[in-house]
Symmetry: D2
Subunit: 363 residues, 4 copies
Amino acid sequence: MATIGIGVIGGGYMGKAHSAAFAAVGTVFETTLKPRLAAICGASEASGARYAQAYGFDRAGANWQDVVEDPKVGAVVIASPQDTHLEIAQAAFTLGKPVMCEKPMGLDVAEAEAMCAAADAAGVPHMVAYNYIRTPAAQFVRKLLADGALGQITSFRVEHTEDFFADATVSSWRAHGAANGCLGDLAPHPINAALALMGPVAEVNAVIETVHPTRGGESVTNDDQVTMMMRFDSGVLGHLFASRVATGRKMGYVYEIFGTRGAVRFDQEDQNSVHLYLAEGPEAQRGFTRVLTGPEHPDYLPFCQGPGHGTGYQDQIIIEAKDFLTAIDTGQPVWPTFHDGLAVHRVMAAARASDASRGWQAV
Amino acid sequence: MATIGIGVIGGGYMGKAHSAAFAAVGTVFETTLKPRLAAICGASEASGARYAQAYGFDRAGANWQDVVEDPKVGAVVIASPQDTHLEIAQAAFTLGKPVMCEKPMGLDVAEAEAMCAAADAAGVPHMVAYNYIRTPAAQFVRKLLADGALGQITSFRVEHTEDFFADATVSSWRAHGAANGCLGDLAPHPINAALALMGPVAEVNAVIETVHPTRGGESVTNDDQVTMMMRFDSGVLGHLFASRVATGRKMGYVYEIFGTRGAVRFDQEDQNSVHLYLAEGPEAQRGFTRVLTGPEHPDYLPFCQGPGHGTGYQDQIIIEAKDFLTAIDTGQPVWPTFHDGLAVHRVMAAARASDASRGWQAV
Amino acid sequence: MATIGIGVIGGGYMGKAHSAAFAAVGTVFETTLKPRLAAICGASEASGARYAQAYGFDRAGANWQDVVEDPKVGAVVIASPQDTHLEIAQAAFTLGKPVMCEKPMGLDVAEAEAMCAAADAAGVPHMVAYNYIRTPAAQFVRKLLADGALGQITSFRVEHTEDFFADATVSSWRAHGAANGCLGDLAPHPINAALALMGPVAEVNAVIETVHPTRGGESVTNDDQVTMMMRFDSGVLGHLFASRVATGRKMGYVYEIFGTRGAVRFDQEDQNSVHLYLAEGPEAQRGFTRVLTGPEHPDYLPFCQGPGHGTGYQDQIIIEAKDFLTAIDTGQPVWPTFHDGLAVHRVMAAARASDASRGWQAV
Amino acid sequence: MATIGIGVIGGGYMGKAHSAAFAAVGTVFETTLKPRLAAICGASEASGARYAQAYGFDRAGANWQDVVEDPKVGAVVIASPQDTHLEIAQAAFTLGKPVMCEKPMGLDVAEAEAMCAAADAAGVPHMVAYNYIRTPAAQFVRKLLADGALGQITSFRVEHTEDFFADATVSSWRAHGAANGCLGDLAPHPINAALALMGPVAEVNAVIETVHPTRGGESVTNDDQVTMMMRFDSGVLGHLFASRVATGRKMGYVYEIFGTRGAVRFDQEDQNSVHLYLAEGPEAQRGFTRVLTGPEHPDYLPFCQGPGHGTGYQDQIIIEAKDFLTAIDTGQPVWPTFHDGLAVHRVMAAARASDASRGWQAV
Ligand SMILES: NC(=O)C1=CN([C@@H]2O[C@H](COP(=O)(O)OP(=O)(O)OC[C@H]3O[C@@H](n4cnc5c(N)ncnc54)[C@H](O)[C@@H]3O)[C@@H](O)[C@H]2O)C=CC1
Ligand SMILES: NC(=O)C1=CN([C@@H]2O[C@H](COP(=O)(O)OP(=O)(O)OC[C@H]3O[C@@H](n4cnc5c(N)ncnc54)[C@H](O)[C@@H]3O)[C@@H](O)[C@H]2O)C=CC1
Ligand SMILES: NC(=O)C1=CN([C@@H]2O[C@H](COP(=O)(O)OP(=O)(O)OC[C@H]3O[C@@H](n4cnc5c(N)ncnc54)[C@H](O)[C@@H]3O)[C@@H](O)[C@H]2O)C=CC1
Ligand SMILES: NC(=O)C1=CN([C@@H]2O[C@H](COP(=O)(O)OP(=O)(O)OC[C@H]3O[C@@H](n4cnc5c(N)ncnc54)[C@H](O)[C@@H]3O)[C@@H](O)[C@H]2O)C=CC1
């Protein structure tokens, strides 16, 4: 039984999620390579120690360097803020260690390019953690598209709406810095979905706006929502909407795809079903079918033998961990690589340019 | 018991719907002014005769002039194609007869302006038949907005998606003429909804496209879908999508409105419910409430004493007929008047200009 | 254009609904026989006069005899309370006039039997007004069953839940008299549905109960809800639940039918969709399909050419009026006849006997 | 960091699920007592070895005795077939080891009683694995009931419908033995739900039936479905339906609870939402609210900081593992104990007696 030590940088929201995923993945997916929670760190020694104890790691690192350099750490998971991604990834690659990095992978196009260069130079597996596009439901939709089940695609809509910042009296560090705004932080998910489902984007026409210029008296320096028309290389016309002030929406990661022979609707708030319409069979019996995910769909069976029993948020991180382990085990790159993560940044940059120029902008 | 003779021009889809509405409305709404199906006509004498017999009119008119001029006809309903609206309306107004005209009220801005001028000169009631925005559900939503129940509005999305032209092997007269394209024929409904719910539009940024340039070998001369970013006078940012090739969607008249204190979602495919979120009460009990229409909502009770029993398509035309009768009875204008119909045309014109210039266009 | 004068007894909830239906049906269904609102009456002369004026009848009858005997009245609609049904029906049949009677058709089995006898003796059309089973959705489900689309049926569930009496501080005449209780008043609808969908009932095992023995200080003399296991002649096992205290349910007329090859779920609170599962095609694409009613389904097209535009409560009464007119026009009986109405009473009687004996009771 | 070795008996459907749960729970719930996958076994040495390797256990046991007696095993999870539960539990209790046993805990009332006796004698924690009633949604519903949010309960419905045996050409060991029939295997879940939500059952009136007496030529010796009217000690009337031939239903664990002040509907096929109706606020704004589970609900936060991100099947097993660890850590019993599991068996036995006698049967 081969094992690999996992080093996790950061133990907050995602650092914990990745830790739990690596704790479970060996059992769930019966991987040949079994991960071990080797080391974790936080922004301070104290927080690292707390995480190690709480999540059951072998040891706490004093800082990220300590974790990355630990010989027992065979692969690195970066779950710290965007502005730390580049440096940590470079250090890990220098040591020849595979890296899974949280989205959106660095602060901007330049950082993402530098991370790609470092990854390519190292020649080890790398991956960006766009987990929503790995659920059994999302994989099923990607397969439907790959199989041409919907015919020629005619339009696409994607949204990511949450309401954690709907209340304008609430503020936090999230109110500052482009990387923490809606375009920088939330929109990468639907942009990634757009790329994964529809392929490369040719041009965009976006409006980025701050709905609440002040929060609790303080001024806000980043955006609350973005609306964007998109033209894909394939010619398909699409639209994206992302918002952190969409009152009532908790996890409104939604897409609708229309094609000449069928259509798909998905809403992460009901993540275990895909609504599929096929323009076949008697007209009187057509409609959107609510397909519940089950053992027939990708990566579902390891979680449960029964259909309709469902997976949850933590499970999509486990699927991600499995894919990363497989990449390490086989030496094959696994989608989305850093290059795919860079593509997301390019769309974000085009959106900013479009907003500034009030017009279409090539990606 | 006062009665008024109704003259209907056209006996197709909408001509029949209006006939049935005027047959029922006196009983349903117990109007003091009771309508009588006085005269109807079609494109030919034969079709007019057929309609009169089938729908139970007192007589058939040989042509529209015959109906408009009939002294027993006290009010005129125009349910013939767009290119006939102007002339008929002018004739009716000259005789001082109130007019309800089908949407989108003439062929273009110029015609709509001429119709407004004629209406104003006549000083009699006039109305454009945007029936979807009259359902109990829609009226309830308008009331919520008027009452400020959602707080300050932060974003708006509207769509009208159907699939009657999704199959590219199918063609008809609908494949020709701007007025019969998606922007000309379908988009007026969501544009009207946008105006009714959000107020005047300041500028738009639209793409109009023909997905299937040929249908069954023949070339198509109008558009299949339109996507449009909108900025309202109020500052609210919105998006509109209309499509006649949205496979699987039958009556996808949808809107989503987000505000600082609540949100609303509506889909005409479940026309008797409004999904309402209010950011109040314990967090653990919040969510979108599926409010079924009932006697508490505008114009529902006359159809049924029981809540949740529901109204249908024909009923929204009956509500419209009631409002037109009320306008006649009271001499008060009733929304949407021809001026409101003209506003829809102005947005359509701005969309065409925006598409041509690939940029924002003031309305 | 042949016409028939309709006489309506009662102008309350259902009297008005039938009046509106007969006002509209000639136009909607383009019937060859056109109904005319000839006469209506209420419990007093004054109320009859009020109804006649409000609904647009030719005249008010002083009482029901006056309406039934009016030579201009060619067919009688009984929409007065149960305890008046027998006498009125007998009088109409004596004069050879067709009768549509509101459910549940008299007070008990004995009255229903007497009504059947009178109807048979007269040899004219007769019908009981179970309107929920006439919607396009319900007719579509009946057709699926008739076609064997679901295979052999394995289980059946029906419910009718409303909450108009959930609040125990509220009382009315509905709190008194077996005929006005839940079993007497509400349960006939789901029992009729059970018979229509599953065929004759062999035996039942029921509990009938009064949840609130007093209302606002006064004692209640009838029941609030009934639960009933049913064995059909076909061998299928079913269950029925009816309640007038089901908080939150407004029109919970629900059925679920499972068969070896498929299943159907229906809820009147979303009356324009039928959820259909067919055990065919790739397992990964199966699920319940939300079929929206449209022109492909029975009796939909006359209301609207577009699919998914939907019908409402009033429309199901219009369909009923059409079927009654057709019965008159063709001289053919139309389901559900008085004999079908009697079958409902027999199940109700068996339920009461079962509740009294705490055991299975043959119907 | 205290650790405890977990010994798992069986590595099939549930054996694997528990293994994954114990692998993850220490990280997810940050338990002070960290479990270790100490030993696992199957029906043969070979299968035990396979499981140990696949799931990452320290070692494989040759048989269940080997695992139970292993000094490194501090607690035992029984995930082998019903007929093995008693013996294994007794052995574990003799050694003073806490036991979590899969439902329905032995073959019948007698075995369940013997298991309770052994548990009580040992004085160590014991628990039956009714995991569906531990989801954040189910816990939230239990809390609503405990808080009286729905008022006085007036009716209750529960169902558990799946379709794994809908196809009558399919057979397996599940077609034989009362414990593997629908009542024996599936119904324990909804019975447990009934007890958890509504309290003790006073009497039942049940029909148990075999829809397909043969499967692929072979005769079937157990039942396919059960329908049951229930009277709770509280006086509430309820109904239960369980079926393994409910075509289209994958995980139809459903309950509906009506009370004088509110109502709840839940369907495990959309396991992250609870539909809650409260009879308060303006009538025009009432309806069922789809409450998405989130950090405000019990045991959700450890899985994810964001509301609406959702948990899945595997997560409910993790919650169960956490509660078992807590019981061990604190020495406090945790619901549902073996005594609660025995209560389920008593209802099952009463159902069998009722079916045999065709009448009500006290529990
Ligand atoms: N894929 C997804 O669904 C999500 C991704 N993210 C991404 O995950 C990353 C982390 O975000 P969260 O977990 O939400 O933040 P968080 O604030 O919850 O956690 C950040 C962690 O990083 C640690 N940290 C900060 N600076 C550090 C340093 N210099 N060295 C070592 N550790 C350091 C902190 O101690 C903390 O444990 C971000 O890139 C974010 O965009 C966040 C939420 C969801
Ligand atoms: N409000 C709504 O939901 C809808 C509105 N409409 C609008 O209603 C109008 C009519 O459309 P449909 O009823 O769908 O068309 P249709 O083709 O079904 O019927 C058109 C009718 O007009 C008659 N007609 C044509 N030329 C005429 C003339 N010169 N004089 C008298 N009658 C003439 C035809 O004989 C036919 O009866 C259009 O303005 C259309 O945009 C159409 C469908 C839905
Ligand atoms: N099919 C359905 O969905 C429904 C059926 N019903 C049935 O319709 C019938 C009437 O019920 P509702 O309309 O709800 O009652 P309601 O109380 O609203 O109206 C009853 C009407 O009967 C009139 N009436 C009473 N005694 C009369 C008499 N001796 N002669 C003439 N008129 C008399 C009253 O003036 C009143 O207009 C009942 O049989 C009831 O079960 C009621 C509601 C729904
Ligand atoms: N809580 C829940 O949702 C579910 C509970 N169950 C319950 O879990 C238990 C196991 O069922 P499944 O996992 O579905 O069965 P399974 O057939 O998938 O697995 C049974 C396991 O027990 C092992 N086994 C059999 N005899 C054994 C013996 N004498 N000694 C040691 N191991 C032995 C087998 O090798 C196999 O690994 C049953 O009590 C069942 O009712 C099953 C499915 C769902």
